[in-house]
């Protein structure tokens, strides 16, 4: 007989009096019900944004990226800022599903499925920027190393930009496989409950004929564990490689060895903030308060305050090195272009400091960590701050380079750069609305797996075990 016991000191992961069927019922209900008016409103806004983005890209391809305000000095502007921003957001999902799985953090079960979906959509958005930034996008296949008739002219495997191609596409593929292989059993649950023919058929196709056989579950567990083990270094490598795009150059402000850990911490920071934004909404709209509890929200806020403080230390270290290195170019970039409030882009640096370093410190207070309004507000603030961070890194390092004659006039985006960014929001939320409507937003099978250890009603029954002495407990329950 299995003994399932978890300390009473741990908060329940599932609130309320639930059994297995109730779990299915609660999570699958939104799929089977008609979407609310709010869903339609949100969905149409997202599609409208997406269409605006498509039009912006159409103009980009037709007229070239000259319609952006980039120039020779500021060659990377909003596009690469947005790319790094979206990729960073795309780190939380795999972090939650992989690293927290290896660390045996039970609370990941409530949020992992939606966070993984978010990851995939965020990486899709991120990928748009380098692709359309190519300008002649019909030449995009030149980044692929294949034997061609131009020599063969191979790609440069020593270039961080090519590492990026491999890193992002591998990350997208592996995240997608991880997400979908976890989703198969849950789609089978939806299929077996379906009471319309169309739903039965479509979920029948999507669930790949899953039956729930013990052997299949055994392999599924092994697959999840190994994919988690692979994704853990992968998720760290991806943002490391993104940071190499900057760190391997010789631009003051980019040429920094601190970048890989600093970027990874920032990515986790912004990713968790986006997860919070979505979770606060999802738990409310789909009435999932029992599964995404305040305990889940609090745990993620702890990660936010930790990673926020790590990036804070990184910012201060950079400033220190800007002075300590006694390199006048470094000093100029860090102490004038960035930290001096009245320099042309000083506002963005201090916006970043306020949003990323100062404001998350509010989460040292338990009351604030468990406050939904504060959490939601802060999650937005953090993502604004992380956008500023990438903008600061890219633009303040570029606009005044070594040669004053090529210093740029003030760079600000055109409507089409903004439109492209808005379009990726549209893409992200269109995908997310569809996901939330047609797929289980919480991992049904995984919740059932932790239900008897961490469900509120089952934990209640463990009270008397707490009172037993350790020896008696071990004696009674040893195999």
């Amino acid at each position: 007989m299995h003994l399932k016991y978890e300390s009473q000191l741990r908060e329940p992961l599932v609130n309320g009096d639930k059994n297995y069927h109730q779990v299915t019922e609660d999570i699958v209900r939104p799929i089977e019900a008609k979407p609310s008016r709010l869903w339609y409103v949100g969905f149409y806004i997202a599609v409208a944004l997406l269409l605006f983005g498509v039009y912006s890209i159409y103009r980009d391809v037709t007229y070239g990226i000259g319609q952006w305000n980039l120039n020779k000095t500021v060659g990377w502007g909003w596009d690469i800022t947005n790319f790094v921003w979206w990729v960073g957001i795309g780190h939380a999902g795999t972090l939650i599903s992989a690293i927290l799985l290896l660390f045996r953090q039970g609370w990941r079960t409530g949020v992992n499925r939606a966070a993984e979906a978010m990851t995939i959509f965020a990486v899709m958005c991120a990928g748009q920027f380098p692709i359309w930034h190519m300008g002649r996008v019909w030449m995009a296949f030149f980044v692929l190393p294949y034997p061609n008739t131009r020599g063969p002219l191979w790609v440069n495997f020593n270039s961080p930009l090519l590492w990026d191609v491999f890193a992002i596409s591998t990350y997208f593929t592996v995240s997608l496989l991880f997400w979908y292989s976890g989703l198969i059993p849950d789609l089978a649950t939806v299929r077996d409950r379906a009471f319309t023919k169309l739903r039965k058929r479509l979920y029948g196709i999507a669930s790949f004929g899953w039956t729930g056989s013990t052997k299949h579950w055994q392999r599924h567990e092994s697959l999840s564990l190994v994919l988690a083990g692979l994704s853990t270094p992968l998720v760290l490598s991806v943002h490391t490689i993104v940071s190499f795009d900057f760190a391997t150059s010789v631009i003051p402000g980019w040429h920094t060895t601190i970048f890989p850990p600093y970027f990874v911490a920032g990515a986790i920071f912004s990713g968790f903030a986006m997860v919070q934004t979505l979770m606060v909404i999802i738990r409310k709209v789909f009435q999932m308060e029992d599964y995404i509890t305040l305990g889940h929200i609090e745990a993620m806020n702890k990660v936010i305050v930790l990673t926020g403080s790590i990036v804070g230390i990184a910012y201060l270290t950079e400033l220190f090195m800007g002075w300590y290195s006694q390199n006048k170019y470094e000093g100029y970039t860090f102490w004038y272009s960035r930290a001096y409030l009245f320099s042309p882009y000083g506002w963005s640096y201090w916006g970043m400091m306020a949003c990323n370093v100062l404001s998350p410190q509010i989460f040292w207070f338990r009351k604030m960590r468990r406050n939904l309004f504060v959490t939601f507000f802060m999650s937005i603030i953090v993502n604004i701050g992380m956008w500023f961070e990438r903008f600061v890194i890219i633009v303040t390092s570029l606009y005044r380079d070594y040669l004053p004659s090529s210093w740029s006039v003030y760079y600000s985006p055109t409507i089409w750069e903004i439109g492209f960014y808005a379009g990726t929001f549209g893409l992200f939320f269109t995908c997310f609305f569809l996901f939330a409507k047609y797929m289980p937003v919480i991992a049904v099978a995984e919740i059932k797996y932790v239900l008897k250890t961490s469900g509120e009603n089952f934990k209640g029954k463990m009270d008397k075990l707490e009172e037993e002495g350790v020896e008696k407990f071990a004696h009674d329950h040893a195999h």
Binding site: M1, H2, N19, Y20, H21, T24, E25, R29, E32, P145, P152, L153, W154, N156, F157, N158, P160, W163, F166, A167, T170, T173, V174, L177, F178, S181, A188, R191, D192, R193, F195, K197, L198, K200, R201, Y203, G204, I205, F208, G209, W210, T211, G212, S213, T214, K215, W217, Q218, R219, H220, L223, V226, L227, L230, S231, P233, L234, S237, A445, Y449
Partner: protein, 196 residues
């Protein structure tokens, strides 16, 4: 494809299922499979299934990826078309680590997922016999294969005495075929609570 006769027992608690599995096995019956709504740890051992070797396959795919990356990059940059990047060595191993790592992960993950789908016969449009619609909801469904010597009614009673809340005899195809789920009869559908 030949159909076989199965006795099906449904349990609603894994704590009841485990002793039942043990008893059924010691009584000499052959358990075809147990279908569960989630991964019940230890059930594979209770059923006497061997450990899966999927992770070994993953390792082999991984080193294939490593070898592919290192092999092709070194051939391309050091042999086929050596380019001079500021006089640096053609064989620039440190610069190849990122892509080598990514391809290792990629090969391993893709290979493992494909192997998993192949071993479990999972693919779009694949159809299998489902012994109970609630096996993906809240029931643990034990399926025992009947031989010519099996007395199915005795076995049903035996399962019920070991805590099965529902027992049944089904003649079914044990493999997979291409099919559609909406063409099914759903013998258990009316027992489900339907909430829209």
């Amino acid at each position: 494809m030949a159909k076989k006769k199965f006795v099906v027992g449904c349990f609603d608690d894994e704590a009841v299922l485990f002793p039942a599995v043990k008893k059924v096995r010691t009584s000499g019956y052959k358990i075809h499979d147990v279908y569960t709504p989630f991964a019940v740890h230890g059930l594979d051992h209770a059923l006497g299934l061997r450990e899966t070797s999927l992770h070994t396959a993953g390792f082999i795919y991984g080193i294939t990826g490593t070898a592919t990356a290192l092999g092709s990059i070194s051939w391309i940059l050091a042999k086929d078309w050596p380019l001079n990047f500021g006089g640096k060595p053609h064989f620039a191993l440190p610069a190849w680590i990122p892509i080598t790592f990514e391809l290792t992960v990629l090969f391993s993950a893709v290979g493992m997922v494909l192997t998993f789908c192949y071993l479990c016969q999972l693919a779009p449009f694949v159809k299998k016999h489902h012994f109970h619609a609630r096996a993906t909801d809240d029931l643990f469904v034990m399926v025992i294969e009947c031989t010519e010597k099996t007395n199915a009614d005795d076995l049903k009673a035996f399962l019920a005495s070991n805590g099965a809340i529902e027992t049944d005899i089904q003649v079914a195809e044990e493999g997979w075929w291409l099919g559609r789920y909406d063409k099914d009869e759903h013998p258990f559908q009316n027992k489900q609570t339907v909430v829209a």
